[in-house]
Symmetry: D2
Subunit: 146 residues, 4 copies
């Protein structure tokens, strides 16, 4: 879907906000590409964040998908809005093994207060993509008092 | 609820499996206490895993709640079963600020194949607990071929 | 948990609003009991709303749990607020067979805009209660313009 | 996605099973079209199943989306399998007003035991479609002993 951003400077604002998310740099998650209503994040496989079978922990994939959904919604919000995650739900479809992971999020329904976004996690091995997880997230736009 | 474990050695097995979860040690999440059908994990506040307002990232709380739910279900599984997360859903109720966090999970419904567990995240500040997040998770018992 | 209602006339308002929900009377769902932050609904078994094995359809249980969560949140809202369901998630734990069903909802976290409530469905057979389904719902308070 | 059904007689089996779902005929929900891995259901607006603002009740849309997801997964299951809903999560994006509703479900990931499907509800008014709700559902294939 094509969305029209309210904030003409949304790119700059997303870049700055992403840099403030310590969790992203600590986990090695990077902002690969984004536009109005969609965001792609990436992460290399990292055994430091694996579960007991050596696959990436479901919660780590979730951390990336949550940020991807949040930023996808954030691209469409007003210039002074902040984005909060109200809730999300994720299904884990295949073991999270691969050389690296791509997290693609899109806004399903933007809203003045409530937005809904969806994300998918793909594992990349030998140049092949495999769907490993899917999320639906509900985000809220709030104006924080300063 | 009181549950009767199938595997008399479930404590030893949970301890060993938890140690194999690199993600837990990398995030500083520890196994505080557990028994048949319930698990408590803990984590100190760590700004390395914060989002852009300086609160703990929702995905990091989720990683702990997912492990707590998974281990709670695992305590009731057969001796050779492995536990997989099929899906979970989490609501974020208050900003995740505090000195440390407690993650309490309980099995709602154990099953031969499918179990359902619930977890809550409490933030601790000045000795006061505050509910900050809640999860429902669906777990599956599988026997991995060796 | 004990909640203090904002609207002293919340009982009257809930009664009136419940009567306006045609879906409740068409499905035979009744308002059994409610107070500030909690609601119990009831429904007799009705084969007209069964799935193909003769159990109550998961969606029908969900309809009752959604209304129960919505009304539980509504009891705590301001006098002119309306309640909307943003989203819910339900797990089905046992076949929905029994003589009648009780749906118990409680607010987990009330909020000015966003509230979170939980509901459980119990099947009653020979005077015994059995847990058959569980829901978490996110509700929003809105003021509709007239 | 193109899926290959295991059961060559899946069409006949879905038709028969759908007819056994009393809830579908009582709510006026019909099987509009289906194939391997996808199902479309339809329902006219019916004020008997409305909530208090006169829109269709979220639980009624959910009943149709649950059946749509279940049948979509069922088309890909083995000849003797039965399908059970383990859980679902639904977001409500716009008021459910319109002349009729279309429920489109697709399998996201088929599996021997666990399948995941997604459904969307569209309201039709004056020939225009509007997205009003979205579901993700987890289904299980079981062989019932006779």
């Amino acid at each position: 879907m094509a969305f029209i951003p309210q904030n003409p400077d949304f790119r700059q604002r997303c870049d700055k906000t992403f840099e403030l998310q310590n969790a992203m740099s600590s986990l090695g998650i990077t902002l690969a590409e984004f536009g109005a209503g969609h965001v792609n994040l990436e992460m290399p496989f990292n055994r430091k964040f694996a579960q007991h079978h050596g696959f990436m922990h479901a919660g780590i994939l979730t951390t990336a998908m949550d940020s991807a959904c949040g930023f996808a919604a954030f691209t469409l919000m007003a210039a002074k809005a902040e984005v909060l995650t109200i809730e999300f739900k994720a299904n884990f479809l295949s073991p999270a093994k691969g050389e690296r992971f791509i997290f693609r999020a899109e806004v399903l329904k933007p809203g003045r207060t409530i937005s809904v976004a969806e994300a998918k996690t793909y594992a990349i091995s030998d140049g092949q993509e495999k769907l490993v997880a899917a999320m639906t997230a509900t985000l809220m736009a709030v104006t924080l008092d300063v």
